[in-house]
């Protein structure tokens, strides 16, 4: 009895994978406190690290809405942990578009999934939105709230309105790369073990 609509089972799966995604992201996010360049390197790290669970996720649900709901959850979690709501629209739009792309390949076509994941990864740039939109006051805020000048300078050297386009592209490209690697890991482990077909 397979239906096209999402069922309670799918909601639970979405919840579980969002939790895993968040834990992975949190673990890497902590690295950002070491050096501002690592904050910029999120665009490389997160798409690669998140690819394994996401590729498994794609093969577990295969229904429209899975990524949309996940993106809404991520937006909520980001907001609650103090990352602001400026990025929320981007996160959700990225989620919906990624969902549509994956649906175009009926969640089976490997190429479409790779593209879909790349697009989905562009939400990571939402982390930088507070830095961009309010660049001047944000810099002042950073300094006032105790960040060192060095940190702020480095941060702005890496992330500004000129580089943001590059960062988005990075996200997407590394999303593609991550998707390939993730796919191969899923194949190496989960398909071989018979967990997914």
């Amino acid at each position: 009895m397979e239906t096209k609509k999402l069922t309670a089972k799918d909601f639970i799966t979405i919840g579980i994978f969002t939790a895993i995604w968040f834990v992975v992201e949190f673990a890497f996010g902590m690295l950002g406190y070491l050096h501002p360049y690592i904050v910029a390197a999120y665009v490389v790290l997160l798409p690669l690290a998140g690819a394994i669970p996401m590729m498994l996720f794609y093969s577990k649900v295969e229904k429209f809405g899975m990524i949309t709901i996940m993106s809404v959850l991520i937006a909520i979690i980001m907001f609650v942990t103090g990352m602001g709501f400026l990025g929320a629209p981007l996160i959700i739009v990225a989620g919906v578009v990624a969902d549509l792309i994956a649906r175009a390949g009926s969640y089976k076509n490997a190429k479409m999934i790779v593209i879909s994941y790349g697009v989905f990864c562009s939400w990571i740039c939402a982390n930088y939105f507070p830095i961009l939109v309010t660049a001047k006051s944000y810099r002042k805020d950073l300094l006032d709230s105790g960040f060192s000048k060095e940190y702020a300078n480095n941060l702005f050297r890496a992330i500004n309105s000129k580089t943001i386009a590059l960062l988005v592209i990075c996200c997407v490209l590394f999303g593609f790369l991550g998707a390939f690697l993730g796919k191969s890991v899923v194949k190496k482990h989960f398909e071989k073990a018979g967990i997914v077909q």
């Binding site: 909601f11 639970i12 919840g15 909520i76 103090g82 006032d144 989960f190 967990i195």
Partner: protein, 233 residues
């Protein structure tokens, strides 16, 4: 029955604190408001008899405050000072939201959360998924603990410094057990009627009491003053 805050008031608190956290404080008055708002969840933790955590959060916050304002002056240079300043900044910046989130997640029951979300007309898809996210953090912690123990027994040479391998060895067993737990969890939940067409009821009676309104009013006021002072004064 012990009377707790209404879950909606807690969610509202989370919402307001998250907004304030986004805007950083620049003047002493703003710092005052921020600190006041940080003290609310800490006080609530004390009320819940979670003294150890309340004290830990308080000391953390106070320490960061003291270091920032009295020990490290602005324009401090040098590697260690820069680091320390950075960390204190981060703690001051994010800890209000973190403490509040910790308080809300630890004290809100899944049942309360689900009926509050239902009352606010949030669709089931979001409610169920979010409830699972909340329930799953301790599970991930447990599973990861077991995996770490297993890795320790295999010796630290397991990955040999290979970052990708290190991640693989941690993530793959974690995913395997999370997937199987998830399967069993949803089977058990569905056989007990989750996701049916009937409207879910709840034994939790949600009722906004004066204390809830008071808290919300106070938070709204604080946020309003904060925004006003920051942008218009």
């Amino acid at each position: 029955m012990k009377r707790n805050l209404d879950p909606r008031a807690k969610l509202y608190m989370l919402f307001v604190v998250s907004i304030i956290v986004m805007l950083s404080a620049t003047t002493p008055l703003l710092w005052c408001i921020r600190t006041m708002i940080t003290m609310i969840p800490i006080m609530l933790l004390i009320k819940e008899k979670r003294y150890a955590w309340a004290l830990r959060f308080f000391v953390l916050y106070a320490l960061a405050m003291i270091l920032t304002f009295f020990v490290l002056g602005s324009g401090s240079t040098g590697m260690w000072k820069a680091f320390l300043t950075g960390y204190c900044g981060i703690i001051l910046q994010f800890s209000p939201a973190f403490i509040t989130a910790w308080y809300v997640i630890r004290t809100m029951k899944v049942d309360e959360f689900m009926s509050a979300m239902q009352k606010m007309h949030v669709p089931d898809s979001i409610t169920i998924s979010l409830a699972v996210v909340m329930r799953f953090f301790p599970t991930i912690k447990e599973e990861y603990g077991c995996i770490r123990a297993a890795m320790k027994m295999r010796g630290s040479s397991l990955a040999g410094g290979n970052v990708w391998k290190m991640m693989e060895y941690r993530l793959i067993p974690l995913l395997f057990s999370c997937v199987s737990i998830g399967d069993e969890l949803s089977a058990a939940a569905i056989t007990r009627g989750l996701g049916g067409k009937v409207k879910r009821t709840s034994v939790v009676v949600l009722e906004m009491k004066s204390i809830d309104y008071l808290l919300m009013l106070f938070l709204t006021g604080a946020a309003a003053v904060f925004v006003f002072v920051k942008y218009w004064v």
